[in-house]
Symmetry: C2
Subunit: 424 residues, 2 copies
């Protein structure tokens, strides 16, 4: 059975939907004929801002159902948003799973009419990385895994691996996810730099800082350059929302979810998003320290993870490039980049540019989380506003420094050192 | 009547086609019913490499018919090429005509099945600009008109004027013109830098120079950066082939034709193409000078036209930006770029970047015309090979200098001075 029209499901109607959908039923019961699906346990757990997420557990298995509604969940029908985003999420998830199955949940089912995705349930102890970092939990494999995910998804969807024909076809398809891109344009690249009813910050502590962002011509020039790259440069398939709330972890598993903002954009936007959210987590630690735990060691862990993530990313990305240098990628043809010297020079230039892009986009992502509409739990969970504001101010100052001076950094180590110095 | 299948037309079958097509017949005879179309004069004049072009003159009017065949005209069926290029040519012509009707021939008719365009006949004394420049003819309004064409078509199809939604829709459409983009990638950004059966140059004079291009690591790094921009950066709708063979002129009219390579790319590619072809014309003048005319004055005219084209382009482009700064363009929102100081800084940064892009792409276009597959009549018409090679060598040296050092130029005047010095 297929639904011919969109219908928002709930815990009850979802049972019927699952029973009527063999690709889902077969994951939960014995035969997929629905007769042993009487005792399904269904729980809505969506803690994100946009969609509904149900955990479904049956006698023989489990899965997660995610449904997009034609509006923003946390606001309601007054903020409409295309439910077609589920199509781009499903398409991106499949592509990411194809290139990096170790770090992406498998998709079992996608129903475009219903804007509904069925995928692997990332069972406990998987938790959202952001929550783990707030709790002060170390994930020793995080940098290793995230550098895997980013290097593979970005490399294999770029012109370093693909032909122009494949690339342009894919770009054209994701051009239709424009509503999600527009949302990012607004909340990341525009609102923080102007008066907007959606902006908020820890008032009154950061009033002057928020105003300073809106009055800073240098920031405005830098953000314009980044916004143009975001809108115009189709370098690779991006996740598009790669913050620590889109990653689920255990001590030995790292899983990336929620690519509904996926589109072809500049690679640095994904890398920067992830690094920026680690940096926010770093600056939030003083707000989570207490008599028992000063979080000093944990700050060291985050610093190291930032450094490792970039360094491992760079190493793996270049290794993929070397491995596929005689392949079908059309950016650097073997007949031209045919000697080790020129290839190395080209790779170095590429990686330095990507590093600066990542720092720039990362800085933009930090700024918007402090003076824009959507804040992060890392800071929000610090209940004392003056303490919270002190953390946020350091993060904001660091982000401004990074956005303006990113080109003066040559290694991630220098960035981490600057971050630690500012924090002291 | 509409043809249900593609058919390559000739002088005879074209008459039947026109009689059966009111939009064409009405331009040529009295009533469009075909009964006064007995004495049509039809002449094939295609001197380009790719397509068939017919001039059609009737009792009351005239028009031009351009038909794309599914292969490259000057090579034959052994080099297939999508005839869908006619669709993108027609679509781009209409868009360009919309924004700049003074410098684009009106389209009367487009038939996608037949890959056939009917448009205004640019009657004599219109000639191809390249031929005029070879003959030493000055066109005093050329810089004025071309800066009009480029500033208007590029500005109005960019995010300075358009919303992201309109922009992404248009990008997606032109992604399908990928075969033409690939051809450019190959002949402009790849072949000249490697061994390729298609490359040729004035041998033996330029043998060492052609080899030097293939061995120059700095050039290879620069060309990689430009190629990435060409493939990835959808800044505006480009003509895509804006050399002096795509412009028809009289002393008071300038008309841009032949945008079959149109796509969303970096603006500098169009501007650079036009400037580069003026520079090639400049360096070719010594090959055309003779006892009667040393072409000194004409070289001065070309120099001035290069300078005026960029300076007028910049002035007009910024004026359009100022005029529409509170409009629907989403790149620089008025709420952010709300004071004259920051807007001016932003414009300055934008124009400097565009200037450097234009010089880089222009240099790439020059190089490929000297050591790549397709040469220009400016040099080809110099029959003495040693004389021709001397001209080409200067142009090539200048192009290499420009490609490597473009960022050190701040004004077009400096570029022209460097060009004149090298020529001495
Ligand atoms: N595959 C999954 N396995 C387990 N939990 C999941 C899964 N997908 C989502 N969740 C839970 O649902 C929450 C919201 O999912 P998410 O995809 O981020 O939705 P949104 O787009 O609304 O942010 C996540 O924070 C996570 O707690
Ligand atoms: N509208 C026109 N009016 C007059 N002559 C034209 C017109 N369009 C093309 N031509 C002539 O036909 C030639 C080839 O046209 P063009 O569009 O450049 O074809 P191609 O794509 O094959 O290069 C031009 O160089 C010009 O001489
Ligand atoms: Mg079963
Ligand atoms: Mg989420
Ligand atoms: Mg989401
Ligand atoms: Mg032509
Ligand atoms: Mg042509």
């Amino acid at each position: 059975m297929a639904y011919s029209e969109f219908r928002a499901l709930n815990e009850e109607s979802l049972v019927e939907y699952i029973k009527a959908t063999p690709a889902l039923a077969s994951k939960l019961g014995n035969g997929g004929d629905g007769d042993d699906l009487g005792d399904l346990k269904i729980k809505e757990v969506g803690d994100g801002n946009l969609n509904f997420v149900y955990i479904v557990v049956g006698s023989r298995g489990s899965l997660v159902i995610k449904q997009a509604l034609p509006y923003v969940r946390c606001i309601g029908e007054s903020w409409p948003m295309t439910k077609e985003r589920a199509y781009f999420e499903a398409t991106a998830l499949k592509e990411e799973f194809h290139w990096c199955p170790a770090h992406v949940p498998e998709i079992y089912h996608f129903d475009r009419t219903m804007s509904l995705i069925g995928m692997r349930y990332l069972e406990p102890p998987h938790i959202i990385l952001r929550k783990g970092l707030i709790a002060g939990t170390e994930y020793p494999l995080l940098a290793q895994h995230m550098s895997d995910f980013m290097s593979r998804t970005l490399f294999f969807t770029s012109l370093l691996y693909r032909s122009t024909t494949e690339h342009k076809r894919a770009i054209a398809e994701f051009c239709s996810n424009v509503e999600m891109c527009r949302l990012t344009e607004q909340v990341v690249f525009s609102d923080p730099y102007k008066i907007s009813q959606f902006n908020r910050w820890t008032t009154p502590y950061l009033d002057a800082d928020a105003e300073a962002v809106r009055e800073d011509n240098d920031l405005k020039l830098e953000i314009a350059e980044l916004k143009a790259k975001f809108c115009e440069r189709a370098q690779a398939l991006l996740h598009g929302d790669l913050h620590t709330g889109s990653v689920m972890v255990t001590s030995d598993s790292t899983q990336v979810i929620d690519p509904e903002f996926a589109f072809y954009g500049p690679m640095g936007f994904d890398i920067g998003a992830f690094l920026a959210n680690l940096i926010l987590a770093f600056f939030a630690q003083n707000g989570h320290s207490n008599g028992e735990d000063d979080r000093k060691e944990f700050k060291q862990y985050i610093s190291q993870t930032i450094e490792d993530t970039w360094n491992l990313f760079e190493k793996k990305f270049v290794a993929l490039w070397d491995e596929h240098k005689d392949g079908s990628g059309e950016a650097y043809l073997p007949g031209i980049y045919n000697n080790p010297e020129v290839l190395q020079l080209a790779q170095k230039k590429y990686m330095v540019d990507l590093f600066h892009d990542s720092l720039g986009f990362g800085a933009a992502k930090m700024i918007r989380r402090i003076v824009g509409v959507a804040h992060v739990e890392d800071f929000e969970s610090i209940s004392d506003p003056s303490k919270r504001a002190a953390c946020e101010k350091k993060a904001l100052d660091f982000a401004k420094l990074l956005l303006k001076n990113r080109r003066s950094f040559v290694r991630i180590g220098g960035v981490v050192t600057a971050m630690q110095q500012l924090e002291k």
